[in-house]
C-alpha cells in the first residue's frame, strides 16, 4: 500500500466513524423534534403521526443509513424550526464562514512565515527575542477578547470598519470583505503567533543541517538558501500545524461570528443548538468534521509534494 492510499483509507474510515458518533450523540439528546414542531398543545396521536412521517420510528440502523445516504447526496433533510431544506440554510451561511476562515488562514500564513524566517535567521538576537516575545503574547490572547478590542479601536474609536453585521455579497465585494476584515484579523493573529513559533523552530532545526552549510559553501546567497532550501525542508511541521489550524479556525468562527453578528455557519449551529433544531446541528457538525478530515488529507498529500521521499513509502 502506498502512503497516499493508506491516508485516503484512514480518512474515509474516520469520516464514517465520525458520522456514527454524530448520529449517536443526536440520538441521546433529549427532546422530541415532532413534539417541538407541533407545540405542546398537540395530542399524542398527532405527534405519533408526525413521528411516523418523519421516519423517527424506524429502526436505529435504518435511520442511520437513511441519514448517511442523504449526506452523500447533500440531502440533509428539512430544518425543524425554519421548515426549509437544511442544505439551503447551509448554502446561505457557508458563503460567510468559508471566506472568513480562508481570509484568516491566508492572513495567518502571510504573517507567520516571514516572522518565522526573520526569527530563525536572527536566532538569539534582539529581533528574534522581540518577535518571539510578541508571539508568546499572541498565543495567550483569546480571539474573542482580541475581537472586542479590535471593535473598540477600529469601529468605535476610528470608525474605519463596521462593528458587526454582514451586508451580503450582493452589496458588492468590497463592503462584504470589509465587514469580514476585523473578524478575520481577530481569528488570524493568535493563530499566526502559534504558526510563527512552529515555523521558527522547524527552520532552526533545518538550518543546522549539513546540506545548508554545503549550499552556503557553494556560494549561494543566504537569502536563497533560506527560501529555497531551508523553508522547503521546514514545511512538514508547518503544514501539519496549518491543517490543525484550519479545524481551529472553523470552530473559532462559532464564537467570532457571535461577536460580530455574522450570519455564518457558526451562528447557525449555535442558534440551532438553543432551538433544539437537531437536524441542522448534526448536518453542520458533520460538514465541519468532513471539512477538517478533508483538509488533513490534503495536508497528508501535500507532504508528498513537499517531500518526494514519502511518495513511494509504505
Amino acid at each position: 500500500m502506498t502512503y497516499l492510499l493508506k491516508r485516503l483509507i484512514i480518512a474515509a474510515v474516520t469520516l464514517v466513524l465520525a458520522s456514527m458518533v454524530v448520529f449517536a450523540v443526536m440520538e441521546i439528546l433529549p427532546g422530541d423534534p415532532a413534539r417541538l414542531m407541533l407545540g405542546f398543545n398537540a395530542s399524542t396521536d398527532q405527534v405519533e403521526l408526525l413521528r411516523n412521517q418523519m421516519g423517527l420510528n424506524a429502526p436505529l440502523v435504518l435511520r442511520y443509513l437513511h441519514w448517511a445516504g442523504g449526506l452523500l447526496s447533500l440531502d440533509f433533510g428539512r430544518s425543524y424550526t425554519y421548515s426549509v431544506p437544511v442544505i439551503d440554510l447551509v448554502r446561505e451561511r457557508v458563503v460567510v464562514s468559508l471566506p472568513l476562515a480562508l481570509i484568516a488562514l491566508a492572513l495567518s500564513t502571510a504573517i507567520a512565515i516571514p516572522v518565522g524566517l526573520f526569527s530563525a535567521s536572527r536566532q538569539g538576537r534582539a529581533g528574534d527575542t522581540l518577535a518571539m516575545g510578541a508571539a508568546q503574547l499572541g498565543v495567550a490572547v483569546p480571539n474573542f477578547w482580541f475581537a472586542l478590542m479590535l471593535i473598540y479601536l477600529f469601529a468605535v474609536w476610528l470608525r474605519l470598519v463596521p462593528a458587526g453585521g454582514f451586508p451580503g455579497w450582493s452589496a458588492g465585494i468590497w463592503p462584504a470583505v470589509k465587514s469580514l476584515l476585523l473578524p478575520a484579523v481577530a481569528l488570524a493573529l493568535p493563530q499566526a503567533a502559534i504558526l510563527a513559533r512552529v515555523a521558527r523552530s522547524a527552520l532552526i532545526e533545518v538550518l543546522n543541517e549539513d546540506y545548508i552549510r554545503t549550499a552556503r559553501a557553494k556560494g549561494l546567497p543566504y537569502r536563497a538558501v533560506l527560501w529555497r532550501h531551508a523553508l522547503r525542508n521546514a514545511m512538514i511541521p508547518v503544514l501539519t500545524i496549518l491543517g490543525l489550524q484550519f479545524a481551529f479556525l472553523l470552530a473559532g468562527t462559532i464564537i467570532i461570528e457571535n461577536v460580530f453578528y455574522l450570519p455564518g455557519l457558526g451562528r447557525l449551529v449555535f442558534q440551532a443548538i438553543t432551538q433544539r433544531d437537531l437536524i441542522v446541528v448534526e448536518s453542520v457538525v458533520m460538514l465541519l468534521v468532513a471539512a477538517v478530515i478533508a483538509v488533513n488529507l490534503l495536508v497528508d498529500f501535500s507532504y508528498a509534494v513537499v517531500d518526494p521521499r514519502l511518495r513511494g513509502r509504505q
Binding site: 439528546l29 536566532q123 508568546q136 473598540y152 490543525l244 461577536v259 443548538i273 438553543t274 446541528v281
Partner: protein
C-alpha cells in the same frame, strides 16, 4: 529502584539552580504563583463583595475606590476578576487531571502492547481530533446543560487524546532502550516496567504538555463562559464578564479590558512556565533558544 534516562546525575539543588537561571521559567513561575495566590486570597478577602449589587455605583470608570471600575450591576471588577481566577483555575486543572488520568494509561498501554491495540487507539485519536474541540464542547454542554462541571467534562474529554498521544510517543522512544531490556531480562512484566521505568522517564514530557493544556483549558473555559455555556451567574467568570462587557464597549470599555488582560497574563504565565520546564529538563531544546 527507578532508572532515569534523562537526568543521570542531577541533584535537586542542581535542577533548581538551573530553573532560576532560566528567564522563561522564572517569569512564568512568578506569574503563575501570583495568579494562584490571588485566587486563594479571594477565598478570604476581596476589595468588595462580589455578591452585592450596588446599582448606584453601576458602570463606574476606574477610580481609587474601584481600581478596575465597576460593571453594570455596580460590582467591583477587580474583586470579580479575583473570584473568577478560582473558577478558571479549577476548571482547567480538573480538565487536565481528566486528560492525564485517562490519556496517559491509554497511551502507555498502546506503546507497551503495540499491534492492534496501538492501531485502534491511534484511530480513535484521529477520530476525536476530527471534531473541532470547541464545537464539540459546545455540543456536550448543550446536551448536558451549561455549567462549570459540564465545561470541565467537555474540556477534559479533549485532553484525553492529547495526553494519550504524548504518552505513547514518549513511551515508544523509551521501550527500545537497554535499561528496559535489562528490566525485562530481570523478569519484570509490562505493567511493572511501565510504572517503574517508562512513566518516570516521560514525566517531563507530560509536565510540559500539562502546562500547555492547562493554559488551553483556561482559554477554552473563557470561550465557553463567553457563549453562556460555562459557569453560570452569579458565579463570576472571566468569559462571562467579557460577554457582559460586549454590549457596553462604548460606555464602559474597562469592563472588557481588565478581564481579558487577566486571561492573557494567566495564559502567558503558564506558557512561559511550560517553555521553561522544557528548556531546563531537555538540554536538546536549549540550543533553540
Amino acid at each position: 529502584m527507578t532508572l532515569r534516562a534523562d537526568l543521570p546525575e542531577e541533584t535537586l539543588a542542581g535542577v533548581l539552580a538551573k530553573a532560576f537561571g532560566n528567564r522563561s521559567f522564572l517569569i512564568g513561575f512568578v506569574i503563575t504563583l501570583l495568579v494562584a495566590a490571588i485566587a486563594l486570597l479571594s477565598f478570604v478577602w476581596t476589595p468588595h463583595d462580589v455578591t452585592k449589587l450596588v446599582i448606584a455605583d453601576k458602570t463606574q470608570a476606574p477610580s481609587p475606590a474601584h481600581w478596575f471600575g465597576t460593571d453594570h450591576f455596580g460590582r467591583d471588577i477587580l474583586s470579580m476578576i479575583m473570584v473568577g481566577a478560582r473558577n478558571s483555575i479549577a476548571v482547567a486543572l480538573v480538565a487536565v487531571g481528566i486528560g492525564m488520568g485517562i490519556g496517559v494509561p491509554l497511551g502507555a498501554f498502546a506503546a507497551a502492547r503495540g499491534g492492534i491495540a496501538d492501531e485502534a487507539l491511534m484511530r480513535v485519536n484521529d477520530l476525536v481530533f476530527a471534531f473541532p474541540a470547541l464545537l464539540s464542547a459546545i455540543m456536550i454542554t448543550a446536551i448536558f446543560g451549561p455549567g462549570a462541571v459540564n465545561a470541565i467534562i467537555a474540556i477534559g474529554i479533549f485532553n484525553i487524546p492529547v495526553f494519550a498521544r504524548v504518552a505513547r510517543a514518549g513511551a515508544l522512544a523509551i521501550w527500545p532502550r537497554e535499561f528496559i531490556l535489562a528490566a525485562r531480562a530481570a523478569g519484570k512484566g509490562m505493567t511493572e516496567i511501565t510504572v517503574e521505568h517508562i512513566l518516570p522517564n516521560i514525566a517531563t514530557l507530560l509536565l510540559v504538555q500539562g502546562t500547555i493544556q492547562f493554559a488551553l483549558g483556561i482559554l477554552a473555559e473563557a470561550g465557553l463562559s463567553y457563549v453562556g455555556l460555562g459557569a453560570q451567574p452569579p458565579m463570576p467568570s472571566w468569559g462571562r464578564m467579557l460577554f457582559d462587557a460586549q454590549t457596553r464597549m462604548v460606555t464602559a470599555p474597562w469592563m472588557a479590558i481588565f478581564p481579558g488582560m487577566a486571561i492573557v497574563i494567566t495564559v502567558l504565565g503558564l506558557n512561559l512556565l511550560g517553555d521553561g520546564i522544557a528548556d531546563i529538563l531537555d538540554p536538546k531544546s536549549r540550543r533553540q533558544r
